[in-house]
């Protein structure tokens, strides 16, 4: 239990003022919780294959945060964000199962999202071919993962118990932080790629108008820092700024479709801090401007859709790769063979998770699994309205990059090279984008209800 520094539980809605006539006018109740998940024992950090030893210190504590929301119909839901590189399906399922058992939350009422910090500890069992973990380091990761799951469930429970009448509002700003990194030959050497500069903000206030929670989105890797100190990268500085400007608030970062976008230039704490301040200033623009009240029911839908791999690998193909000159390919092949069991080839597809939350008539939040490239956000917002659609990536689990058809055609890191690290049998089939966008449409339809 002392893997993780003592939990700091912040129950911030307890001071809700009851006298305000606006109380519950649009029917919301909300509660927040923020638990620290900074590792105590030196362990491997996630995200960069170049790191060759455990972390050496802590630049910023890292957290799991939960925002519990109950709409006017009495139905609860929770957003849980992790200052981690990723969570895998095993972690997501464990958290979702326990939240259903303990709090009655259906799978469609739970949104899990990671900041994608490249300065957090390794958690879960994904991306294992990237790290050189010995048995004792693997055991540390296993135990850290268990504790992160416990903390997440505890945060949801705490937030639900803290729920009090609240109001919600939505607005957007813009922030110049992300660049399309595929310009660089390291990723693809394809210039001119798009970015999504939108900063969607969900603000939750108590009936007296005091801000309880700010949920902010942006589509950009958290990889500005590449040393041996634990932190939530530039997003951590952004959240610190927001928290400082609004004492008592719990701010949440929801990673968008930043699969192919990085904060640039990077490296060094000063730049990370600068990127964070830009996002925080964009959030202030929204909070100080006219936000749209969010009324009505929260309708939700969760489902999985099979996304096929282009060429599942046969046992023979994997065995050939055991003697590949690239160590990562050898490790990959060994790993895939160990997973093969009696099958003669690797799995044909991945069951890809998609979650849609419709906040009354105001906006729709589409949460996609994996490291989704920015094309998805732009396409879905174009389809459903840039001013009423929030597209999160890195949600519910990270299984791989999720390339668009364009990126599959162009090739490069996100479509191909990264799949080795993820232990996936090569690139996805060309149909992946249409399958995902089609499934999103079905879920959006399912959440339409009678709302406008």
């Amino acid at each position: 239990m002392n893997w993780i520094q003592n939990a700091i539980v912040l129950i911030l809605s307890a001071a809700a003022i009851v006298q305000a006539p606006a109380a519950g006018a649009d029917g919301w109740k909300a509660g927040v919780a923020k638990l620290e998940i900074t590792p105590k024992v030196p362990m491997w950090m996630g995200g960069f294959a170049s790191r060759n030893k455990p972390f050496e210190g802590v630049r910023q504590p890292i957290y799991v945060r939960a925002l519990a929301l109950e709409d006017g119909t009495g139905s609860s839901a929770a957003i849980v964000t992790f200052d981690l590189l990723m969570i895998d399906r095993g972690m997501a399922d464990a958290i979702a199962d326990r939240c259903r058992e303990r709090f009655g939350l259906g799978r469609d009422r739970l949104l899990l999202n990671v900041s994608h910090t490249h300065s957090g500890p390794v958690a879960g069992r994904v991306l294992m071919t990237m790290y050189d973990l010995d048995a004792s380091q693997s055991e540390i990761v296993r135990q850290y993962t268990e504790n992160a799951i416990d903390r997440a469930v505890e945060a949801v429970g705490t937030a639900i118990r803290a729920m009090k009448p609240a109001t919600a509002s939505f607005g957007q700003s813009l922030a110049g932080i992300a660049v399309n990194r595929r310009r660089s030959p390291i990723f693809a050497g394809v210039p001119g790629g798009p970015v999504d500069s939108d900063v969607p903000v969900l603000c939750v206030r108590n009936p007296g108008g005091k801000i309880l929670a700010v949920v902010v989105g942006y589509a950009c890797h958290a990889s500005a820092l590449n040393d041996y100190l634990i932190s939530n990268d530039w997003q951590g500085y952004a959240l610190d700024e927001i928290d400082r400007a609004h004492p008592g608030v719990v701010s949440f970062f929801l990673q968008g479709c930043g699969g192919d976008c990085n904060a640039f230039p990077r490296r060094g704490e000063a730049l990370a801090r600068d990127h964070g301040k830009v996002l925080a200033a964009a959030v202030e623009e929204v909070l100080n401007g006219k936000m749209a009240p969010v009324a009505g029911a929260l309708r939700s839908a969760f489902d999985r859709v099979e996304i096929p791999f282009k060429h599942p690998l046969t046992r023979e193909e994997l065995q050939q790769r055991l003697s590949d000159p690239d160590v990562h390919v050898r490790v990959f092949a060994k790993h895939m063979l160990s997973r093969l069991g009696r099958a003669d080839r690797t799995e044909a597809s991945y069951p890809y998770p998609i979650l849609v939350w419709r906040f009354g008539g105001e906006f729709t939040l589409v949460a996609l699994g994996g490291e989704v490239v920015v094309d998805y956000a732009l396409r879905l917002k174009r389809q459903y309205g840039f001013d009423r659609t929030w597209v999160a990536g890195y949600s519910n689990e990270v299984m791989s990059y999720i390339p668009s058809r364009r990126i599959l055609d162009e090739g490069g890191y996100e479509s191909d090279a990264s799949m080795i690290y993820y232990g996936r049998p090569g690139r996805y089939d060309d149909s992946v984008e249409e399958i995902i966008v089609g499934k999103v449409a079905a879920l959006v339809e399912r959440t339409a209800g009678t709302a406008p």
Partner: protein, 448 residues
């Protein structure tokens, strides 16, 4: 004649058999001259400002980089921490440089950072869209005359410092700009493109010391919207770069940032942050492997006629003159005066295009006006992203230059801004092909 003799002696000093030991193929010199206004002056760029400046946040400079290739071809890049400089002023600078230094028009490239904390400049040929008192107008004229002198002075100083140099080119990336047409006040058209490239030209002396660093970026300089004089975020960036390299002159070249801005805005801290980000991108580029540039330097300059759409009729203008909007009234009155004077409104604009080609390593295309980002993306796609630098705001910032896409979408840069520029009508749909075609012609001419 003196130049030709000099070139011959330089060539003679280079033993052809030993290319490795050959002297640097370039001579270069750089200079920076302060142009901070000495008295309160109306600032350029925002029509809501109604009074003169109230202080100085940051000193302004005009900077020059003089270059001479091994053939003796001499050219000068001039950059200014100003918002909008039209051809009356830049032509005056170019003409004086031709007379005093013998540099032809194609060898002088003039670019302003588009800082909206810079003063109005102009010689009265193109009145600004704001009402100025006669006193305020006199201040602008005085300042403009001084600015022309100092720009020429900077070129002269830079030429005087010509010394053997090595040029290299590279590019970084910086996330500062967003496409502003996402906002209702400009479009609203979400999902527009940006150009995050940071082209960097380094100029080093024979000992490897940095003499000049030229950096570009495509992004409005509109973080500050108050009454303090300054260089906005490009001013901060240049200060950062010069602080990191004492003795070197940092020149900022505005790119095709017509529809991009740094966002969020309105704070000194944010301007400093954007400046640091650009400076860090420049620093990382200087620290990476840059491509050495060989000569020769080939230059070309031309004005191509870009047609306007059909102008408004006298009847429409007379109606507009009595309309509710202050700016529109002023614009209609201006056009009516032109109509009365010349009998007709102009149907085209002589649009300046300039190309500098540095051997095979770099082609610098400098376009007039507030060019939208589509142009840099299209030209870089055509001529190579890694060897092409596209500047906007060069030689004559007289109007927004929309692409066909932006023109058809409408909004501020495509149509509405024309009233601020004193021009009769939006550009015709041929605008993009005309400009890209002329750029292509000059690229061909400098490749022969």
């Amino acid at each position: 004649m003196r130049l030709a003799l000099f070139a011959a002696s330089l060539a003679a000093a280079a033993p052809a058999a030993d290319a490795e030991a050959a002297p640097a193929p370039w001579k270069a010199g750089a200079a920076s001259v302060e142009i901070t206004p000495a008295e309160p002056i109306r600032l350029a760029g925002f029509s809501f400002r109604t009074r003169p400046s109230e202080g100085v946040r940051q000193a302004l400079h005009v900077k020059a980089l003089a270059l001479r290739d091994a053939t003796g071809k001499t050219a000068a890049l001039v950059t200014a921490d100003l918002a909008i400089v039209k051809r009356d002023v830049w032509d005056a600078v170019a003409e004086r440089c031709r007379k005093q230094f013998g540099i032809e028009r194609d060898g002088i490239l003039l670019n302003e950072s588009h800082s909206h904390s810079g003063p109005l400049v102009g010689m009265g040929a193109f009145p600004p869209p704001y009402e100025l008192t006669p006193d305020q107008e006199a201040v602008v004229r005085r300042y403009t005359a001084g600015f022309v002198d100092k720009a020429v002075e900077a070129v002269g100083l830079a030429l005087g410092r010509l010394a053997p140099a090595a040029l290299a080119y590279g590019h970084g990336l910086a996330g500062i700009a967003v496409n502003r047409r996402r906002l209702p006040s400009f479009g609203p058209v979400p999902g527009g493109p940006v150009d995050h490239d940071v082209p960097v030209l380094s100029v080093r002396d024979s000992r490897g010391g940095l003499v000049a660093i030229v950096a570009g970026y495509a992004c409005h300089a509109t973080v500050f919207m108050d009454y303090q004089i300054g260089g906005d975020w490009p001013g901060c960036a240049q200060e950062q770069i010069e602080a990191a390299h004492p003795g070197a002159v940092a020149l900022f070249v505005q790119g095709c940032g017509g529809d991009s801005f740094a966002f969020p805005r309105k704070s000194a801290e944010l301007a400093a942050i954007y400046g640091r980000k650009l400076a860090a991108a420049v620093e990382q580029t200087l620290g990476s492997e840059m491509v050495p540039l060989s000569g020769p330097l080939r230059t070309a300059f031309a004005c191509v006629d870009v047609p306007f759409q059909a102008p408004p009729s006298r009847q429409e203008l007379e109606k507009g003159r009595d309309g509710p909007d202050r700016i529109a009234r002023r614009h209609a009155a201006l056009l009516l005066r032109q109509l009365d004077g010349a009998g007709r409104l102009p149907d085209r604009y002589p649009y300046p295009v300039q190309v500098w080609r540095f051997g095979h390593g770099l082609t610098l295309i400098a376009l007039g006006g507030e060019v939208v980002v589509d142009y840099s993306r299209r030209l870089k796609a055509q001529y190579g992203w890694d060897t092409t630098w596209v500047a906007g705001y060069s030689n004559d910032t007289f109007a927004y230059i929309p692409s066909l896409r932006v023109l058809r979408e409408g909004g501020y840069e495509g149509r509405d801004a024309m009233v601020f520029k004193g021009l009769p009508a939006p550009f015709a749909e041929s605008v993009e092909e005309t400009i890209v075609g002329e750029a292509g012609e000059l690229v061909r001419r400098t490749s022969e």
